[in-house]
Amino acid sequence: MADIAFTALIDVLQFQNLLASLGGVLFGLFIGSTPGLTVSLGMVLMLPVTYSLPAVTSFCLLLGMFTAGMTGGSVSAILLNIPGTPSASATAIDGHAMAKKGQAGEALETAVTSSFTGGMMSLLALVLISPLIAKVALKFGAPELAALVFLGLTLICSFGQKSMIKGLISGALGLVFMTVGLDPIMGMPRFTFGVVALQSGISFLPVMIGLFAIPQIIEGLILGTNIIPNVQTKVTGVFRSINQVFKYMRYKIVAAILGIGVGAIPGAGGPIAVFLSYDYAKKIAPKDRKGKFGTGIPEGVCAPEAANNAMCGGAMIPMMTLGIPGDPITAILLGALMVQGLTPGPLLFRDNPQFVYSVFWAFLVAMVFVLFVTLATIRIWIRLLKVPKRILLPIITVFCVVGTFSLRNSFTDTGIMIFFGLIGFLMKKYQFPLVPMLLAIVLGPTFERHVRTALVTSSGDPMIFITKPIALAFILIALISFFTPIIRSIIANKKRRSFKKERV
């Protein structure tokens, strides 16, 4: 086995494969950091290019784009508070706050090194325990998935820091908006008002761009708020910042486990892992750091970023071991495998072990490239902020409009983006948090689909969620995470009042 692994390594280290990986990384970073452009879009565009390439080269290109795209999303999230991917919206909370404090360099370094650590852990899981994880992941039916997504939805509480009620309202509004479109089980149109384009529902990408980018543009361009972070930031340099790979390890380990676990469950949806990891990072943080989440601390950046990239390896587990794609990106990878005449699944490990090892090495090489390229270009990214906002913000606006249109080549999406831009601005003005709404719109459709599928299979008996042990465990954890902050805030309020009375 060792000689096969070694031959695979030599194969991946061929010049054309390294070049393909680097090209994929650069393209992925650009795609990930541009609002409106998705990693899956980039990979679909590159798929025809891979037809004429050898299997290993094409995987070097695609995996480079995959891992870099996930990291790239955090660049615009940190610098401009405009997440490039939905998962990066959790990174934006503390990352942008750090950038505003003049720590953009540190935030980016933390994000990149955490992505690397998370990715490495997921690679280890992919190599060492993928068959085991795949077996457990396959036990997830509709009730378990519904319970898992329910757990994700209860995180809304964690993001309503100033007012719990406002956080919950933001989430409830998100759930209301996500019901627009065809009903996921019966295919009946809901709240489309005869507009055919609305039948496919509200995609979360225009919502994300609208909620985050438009309020920033309004604030920067019209209200004159200083939304561009302080560019006088400290950048440690590539080799010194590599030390950060081993910093905040407990947050990264927890986040990576969540990322691998959720990523391995087909159809669970990546953002759950990211938001879960942010919430768990808060829970495991020392008392003096707990209250600082959201104000711009590295722990708040490293947890979601580690989970984000751990998900890459996690999502590849069912794809490689069972031939089941968990999300659109792994479906594209699966397609690329089939184009090369390879059949994914257990037989791949038996018939083409060298190729399997090549994929593992290609993943490792891609992560190393992402680490070095992103760290080396941090100064350039930050220098972009030196462009005056009277020039930068109009350019971002055009990117938002054209990027949103490019998602489905539809101006309805652009209209949705503008609508949510207005909603986002009003929500910000009246101090409603934006993240719960995005979380609800991302997770809502999956939640409804799985809840209703589970109830169809049980002939309408809701006990199906309690009789399944995994589902029950998730529901219990969800209830605990939902009620703990509420009870805590009630106790804190009571204490504050009694303290005030005593003082009087």
Binding site: L37, L41, L45, S163, I165, K166, L168, I169, A172, L173, L175, V176, T179, D183, I185, M186, M188, R190, F191, I217, I218, G220, L221, I222, L223, P388, K389, R390, I391, L393, P394, I395, T397, V398, F399, V401, V402, F405, S406, N409, F411, T414, G415, I418, G421, L422, F425, K429, Y430, Q431, E448, V451, R452, L455, V456, S459, G460
Partner: protein
């Protein structure tokens, strides 16, 4: 207006919205398939949830107002700002219709120039150069590299 008063008004508006949403949900056709939840199952739950939360927001607003709490008034918008925001949204809508009916290549430089002027740019060369270069680069990127069917010139 204090934040508490604003919260009460927002709570009332959201409560009305949840009522309208529940009414629209009740208008959804029901297929009556046995043991299957209809398309209105989740919307009813969400309408109830939103109504309940808006009542909580109203109560919170009223309670805090009665306690004489003073809210943060720092983020008030003046009429000029409101008009400017409306103008920005208007410009965005006109820009989108412009792309459809006139073409991206003709409308984008004008839109960019408008935003840059709005943002405080007064140098004509800066406005001209930026708007033309950005338009061409974005068009090349999306149209030629990403194969997005952007209409360059619509006629």
């Amino acid at each position: 207006m204090s934040l508490q008063k604003e919260n009460t008004i927002i709570g009332i508006l959201l409560f009305i919205f949840s009522g309208v949403y529940a009414f629209l949900t009740s208008q959804l056709p029901d297929r009556n398939i046995p043991n299957t939840l209809g398309a209105n199952f989740m919307p009813y739950i969400f309408a109830g949830l939103l109504a309940f939360l808006s009542i909580l927001l109203i109560l919170e607003g009223v309670a805090k107002h009665n306690r004489g709490a003073t809210g943060c008034d720092g983020n008030k918008l003046c009429t000029v700002d409101m008009l400017n925001i409306a103008a920005l949204f208007g410009a965005l809508i006109i820009y989108i219709f412009g792309i459809i009916y006139v073409g991206y290549l003709l409308v984008t430089p004008l839109f960019l120039a408008f935003l840059m002027y709005y943002g405080g740019s007064r140098k004509i060369t800066e406005i001209l150069l930026t708007s033309i270069i950005v338009t061409v680069v974005v068009y090349f990127l999306f149209h030629n590299v990403f194969m997005v069917p952007l209409t360059g010139i619509a006629f």
